[in-house]
């Protein structure tokens, strides 16, 4: 169950549209390391976690990712407001415009549609947490790549906030992994799957 708060987690107020930048940043909406994939990954993985601390992390970070999904949607929306047809065609936004006008649709920067194959839910808490830590780093790298092509401070400011959250989530998932490993045989963490082979515990 979820409640919606009618606010962004961090404010986004972009005054100057930029169709080129919108095409780059949309990757964090529906791309391989984007916020939608992040949220779906964590919210799907939590059922198989036999550790309440890890289920709490997956629920709460999965929820925060939805707030980031909304921030990215807002950035792309504000970057594509009030564009002329000439700007749409010159910037390369034309093919997207034909299919979606300037509505938001989850895709990668290269136009590949959002796909559940961009994340895993493996039913093994160690495997899943290591995937989650990698996912946070991949998203951080994507934000670093975005920051190199952004010179509008109105855009860079919320992107920096989102980048920093990836670092914090990485830290918390690392603590979750340590919690799991402390509970298992330190000589062989992989002896059994604590969420599946229940009789072994």
């Amino acid at each position: 169950m979820w409640d919606y708060e009618k606010r962004l987690q961090y404010p986004v107020n972009i005054k100057t549209p930029n169709a080129k930048l919108a095409q780059f940043i949309i990757s964090q909406y529906g791309g391989p390391d984007g916020e939608l994939a992040a949220s779906m990954r964590y919210l799907s993985q939590r059922y198989a976690s036999p550790y309440r601390e890890v289920s709490a992390l997956l629920t709460d970070i999965g929820t925060e990712e939805l707030a980031h999904f909304e921030m990215i949607g807002t950035i792309v929306h504000q970057l594509t407001r009030n564009l002329s047809m000439e700007e749409i065609e010159k910037s390369g936004l034309g093919p997207y415009y034909i299919d979606h006008t300037i509505g938001l649709w989850p895709q990668a920067a290269g136009g590949i549609p959002f796909n559940a194959c961009e994340f895993q839910s493996k039913g093994d808490v160690i495997t899943d947490l290591i995937e989650d830590m990698a996912a946070e780093q991949k998203a951080r790298t994507t934000y670093d790549n975005i920051l190199r092509v952004v010179d509008d401070p109105d855009v860079a400011d919320p992107i920096r906030f989102l980048r920093q959250r990836e670092v914090v989530h990485f830290q918390r998932f690392g603590e979750g992994l340590r919690r799991v490993q402390e509970d298992l045989d330190p000589k062989n963490f992989y002896q059994f799957n604590p969420g599946f082979d229940r009789c072994m515990k």
């Binding site: 919606y4 987690q9 709460d60 918390r172």
Partner: protein, 86 residues
């Protein structure tokens, strides 16, 4: 959205962010008494600020929406992606 509304929302954003940080920390440190005290403190401050905001500008959550005015403010207040004051 007016600048006054934006300012109050900014204060709510700061309190909410503090609560999110404490929430994630408590997920992996559920017995940390100091973090729990901070969590309760900032939750109380946020509740007060949200009440002030709701009374002045309308609800931030559907549970705070009231039918006492001419229009259903949940619907008619600006949506977050519209942007702040000029």
């Amino acid at each position: 959205m007016t600048c006054e509304q934006n300012k109050l929302l900014h204060e709510i954003n700061i309190l909410s962010f503090t609560i999110v940080e404490l929430n994630l920390f408590l997920d992996t440190h559920p017995c940390n008494q100091e973090a729990m005290r901070h969590f309760e403190y900032y939750n109380r401050l946020k509740k007060e600020k949200c009440e002030e905001y709701t009374n002045l500008f309308g609800p931030l959550t559907i549970k705070d929406a009231k039918g006492r005015t001419q229009e259903f403010q949940w619907t008619m207040q600006p949506w977050p992606w519209e942007g702040g004051c000029e």
